[in-house]
């Protein structure tokens, strides 16, 4: 059966025909994009139907987030969100809470609404908005229900006595110095590791994890995605993750596909040499199913986490003089990169600071000197800080960029004031320059680090407004066209799926995102509020409430 989808406008992302008004689909494949009256030859003698549900809407290529973490989402999503930023979740919008009183009020509401005996896990607290948290504040909500309040960064939490009792934590056994302020139920850094170990039976309970992945499925759908990338499969436990993914993210009711990219150093842990990596990584393809696919991709790590200011920075470094962190010694990173480069893999490297980027560029240069490759797809992931000189090198070495532009919105203000200063903080995510240089550039959320909403990523990239409403380095703003490319066709290229998705043309899969407004012509500030009516995955319609 052929289906002819009609739309107010079809944005194709095919430069040869940027706009159309109809798409003809058969068995999940696009037969033709264009004007209905030209499609008659296909319809001759065939059974076909017209779908006019989107006749007043705009059809785009299905959105793609090439870098998020289902396993992290599975842990976080079962928790209750109370955050200072808006989160649009399928089961309800989480409106921002920006005061201490508001936070406590929301805690109380959640407590009242839940079954008494169950522990309550809350995520999203930040002292900047919500004031100083303490056990006393939590106890004021409930002293009988175990309650755990997670900091937004995931690096600290607070518990009441009931939660400590549940987790088998005996306050009298806690000595000073372990980064546990036991009187306040506050666990951070090392203390957090301790708290997590004690709470794991609840956080990682298989039923809970499954619920988390089901919620992730809804979140991904509601964000308008038809393809996502899991950039570090095997982060926690390879077999457990693979099993859970196969159960929850495969099947007729799953409206998207996932590109799985294995965590390179985990793969060869336990006494294996890095040189065994490519063979092990290639063997993973045997596990592929329709919607869950490994390819010849691998993920490696250069410097530390962005959120915790552990990025490695070039001079002048951080204002307070602290050092960033290496996640691997330069020699080790080079060794891993070399083995996958020689084996023809597409290599993705997490880089957050401009020194981490510099090291990785030096290594890539060496690789090109040893074995020149074209179209190798080497991708810099996150791309927090960079210099204009590095943009040239990225271009010269044929690499691409996958950026978490959301950092700009949430962190550029604090980085300007207490991180690295205004100049460099405002120029994080140097995306305009990337496009100018002709580098394939895409956007991702790194969910759960940012909302899994490509339209939100577009909005940040186009407007470059941070959470205190300052425009940061307007020269680096993307146009709406560029931003849409970044979440469709460029993203497809970044994860090696451009042959089947990312744009609408004959021969590709019928993956659409159906919007109420036109993202290329609307007011740039309205991008994040565009209504997503539905997605279409391989020809099948999945409406969004």
């Amino acid at each position: 059966m052929l289906t002819l989808f009609k739309a107010r406008s079809v944005i194709t992302m095919n430069p040869s025909m940027p706009r159309a008004s109809a798409v003809l689909v058969r068995d999940g494949m696009i037969l033709e994009v264009g004007e209905a009256e030209n499609m008659q030859p296909w319809l001759e003698g065939q059974e076909w139907e017209v779908n006019e549900d989107f006749a007043d809407a705009v059809i785009c290529p299905g959105f793609i987030d090439p870098h998020l973490h289902p396993s992290m989402a599975a842990v976080l999503l079962p928790m209750e969100f109370i955050t200072a930023m808006r989160w649009r979740l399928p089961w309800g919008d989480i409106e921002p809470v920006t005061t201490a009183a508001g936070f406590d009020q929301r805690m109380a509401e959640l407590h009242r609404s839940k079954e008494e005996s169950k522990p309550l896990f809350i995520w999203g607290y930040h002292q900047l908005w919500h004031g100083q948290m303490s056990k006393a504040r939590i106890e004021a909500v409930s002293s009988t229900r175990p309650m755990v309040v997670w900091h937004r960064s995931f690096h600290e939490l607070y518990m009441n006595d009931a939660a400590m009792a549940m987790a088998g934590i005996d306050p009298s056994q806690i000595r000073p110095g372990s980064q546990i302020d036991i009187d306040n139920g506050h666990f951070y850094e090392v203390g957090l590791g301790f708290a997590i170990n004690r709470l794991n039976p609840w956080i990682l309970a298989p039923e809970q994890y499954a619920v988390g992945l089901q919620r992730l499925k809804e979140v991904v759908h509601h964000g308008g995605h038809t393809t996502i990338g899991d950039l570090a499969t095997g982060l926690f436990n390879f077999d457990a993750e693979a099993k859970a993914l196969a159960e929850q993210l495969e099947g007729e009711d799953v409206p998207f596909r996932t590109r799985l990219v294995a965590h390179g150093t985990r793969l060869t842990q336990g006494g294996r040499k890095p040189e065994e990596g490519p063979e092990l990584a290639s063997a993973l393809l045997d596990r592929n199913s329709h919607r869950l696919q490994f390819g010849r991709h691998i993920k490696l790590f250069s410097d530390g986490a962005f959120f915790s200011q552990l990025a490695q920075m070039q001079e002048p470094g951080y204002i307070d003089g602290h050092h960033g962190e290496w996640l691997a010694a330069p020699e080790e990173l080079e060794r891993h990169i070399r083995t996958y480069w020689q084996a023809g893999f597409q290599i993705h490297v997490h880089v957050t600071g401009d020194l981490g980027l510099e090291l990785t560029l030096d290594i890539l240069q060496k690789m090109q000197d040893e074995k020149p490759r074209f179209n190798h797809g080497f991708t810099f992931e996150h791309f927090g800080f960079s210099t204009p000189e590095q943009i040239r090198r990225i271009k010269a070495l044929g690499a691409q960029v996958s950026a978490n532009v959301y950092y700009l919105h949430e962190l550029s203000d604090s980085y300007a004031k207490s991180g690295i200063g205004f100049e460099r903080a405002s120029q994080m995510a140097r995306l305009g320059s990337c496009f100018e240089a002709g580098i394939n550039t895409t956007l991702h959320s790194d969910f759960t680090m940012a909302p899994a909403e490509p339209l939100n990523s577009m909005w940040v990239a186009v407007n470059r407004r941070n959470h205190v409403d300052q425009v940061m380095a307007a020269e680096e703003c993307l146009t709406q066209q560029q931003a849409l490319e970044a979440i469709t066709i460029n993203a497809a290229h970044a994860i090696g799926l451009a042959d089947i998705t990312g744009s609408l043309r004959a021969g590709k899969r019928a993956d659409f995102t159906v919007l109420g407004q036109d993202p290329l012509t609307c007011d740039p500030m309205a991008l994040k509020d565009i209504e997503i009516r539905a997605t279409v995955f391989e020809g099948r319609v999945f409406p969004i409430e």
Partner: protein, 293 residues
């Protein structure tokens, strides 16, 4: 205080000799039983087949015939420490990641049930000076040096003229007393209960502020407490600069024409703690008084 397990950290950049030291510790008869040795990756450790007695189902714990265990950390030290609380462990040795700053791991060693005891850092004599200039890891290498309580200089055969010129206690990795020293090194202000069959060491640094009469220095060194195991450094006297090196009873006091670059004036003392882990006859305040007098 008595029911926390002491942790000795072994740090140092890649290739500095951490694995070699860990292997030596595992095979040494002086390793007290009930020791858990936590390593980054079993693949790097070369445990003698004859030492291995058992291995856990998930492959993360190896039981040794000397009553000790070897565990792989796998990126999460907190979890590895947590698992130890289920086993009958009396003390812990942790091999830090090559890119870790010792103070960060030191902080981790305050995990409930544990307390850090000493940060031992391996230094590759053939690489360290270049490494300190490296644009990527120079700052890290400097931090590893600065944050060490005890430095162990390795690969001196590749660089026999190597001198570190720092006012910090250091041993050569060839030193026959190395294992005993590493096992016994005690740095934290609240010492954990002393280990059986292990000599404990502490260190004291005296920084020189004013010129010292040579006669005073000579007398001081002659009359130094028996508990002093080593003393080393450079001193400015009224007769010029002298390099001091005292190993047990052997004293070497050598006039030098100038100080090597980066050398600081002063002495580093390594002394034995008595059986109650106190300084015993060694009196740091006395030393300061006598030498600064």
């Amino acid at each position: 205080m008595s029911n926390v397990l002491p942790i000795t950290l072994i740090g140092g950049y890649l290739g500095s000799g951490k694995t070699t030291l860990v292997n030596r510790l595992l095979a040494d008869p002086a390793l007290p039983d009930g020791t858990a040795v936590l390593v980054n990756d079993f693949g790097d450790i070369n445990i003698d087949e004859s030492l291995i007695r058992s291995q856990s189902a998930d492959g993360t714990v190896i039981g040794l015939s000397n009553g000790c265990i070897c565990c792989s950390i796998r990126d999460d030290l907190s979890q590895a420490l947590d698992q130890l609380t289920q086993l009958s462990v009396k003390q812990v040795i942790v091999e830090a990641s090559g890119v870790a700053e010792p103070v960060r791991i030191w902080q981790h060693c305050h995990y409930p049930g544990f307390a850090p005891k000493a940060a031992v850092v391996l230094v590759d004599a053939s690489q360290i000076h270049q490494r300190l200039q490296d644009k990527y890891v120079g700052k890290l290498a400097q931090a590893q040096l600065d944050q060490a309580h005890l430095l162990v200089i390795s690969k001196t055969d590749l660089n026999p003229a190597f001198q570190l010129n720092r006012l910090q206690p250091s041993f050569s990795s060839n030193d026959p007393a190395l294992v005993a020293t590493v096992l016994g090194w005690q740095q934290s202000t609240q010492p954990a209960a002393p280990l059986p069959r292990t000599v404990q060491f502490g260190a004291h640094t005296w920084q020189q502020q004013q010129e010292l009469p040579l006669a005073v220095l000579e007398r001081f060194l002659r009359e130094m407490s028996d508990q002093v195991h080593r003393a080393k450094g450079w001193v400015k006297t009224d007769a010029g600069y002298y390099q001091v090196s005292a190993v047990g009873k052997e004293l070497s006091l050598e006039a030098v024409t100038g100080l090597p670059s980066g050398a600081q004036l002063g002495l580093v003392f390594i002394y034995r703690l008595d059986s109650d882990a106190h300084t015993g006859g060694f009196a740091p305040d006395q030393i300061t008084m006598t030498l600064s007098g």
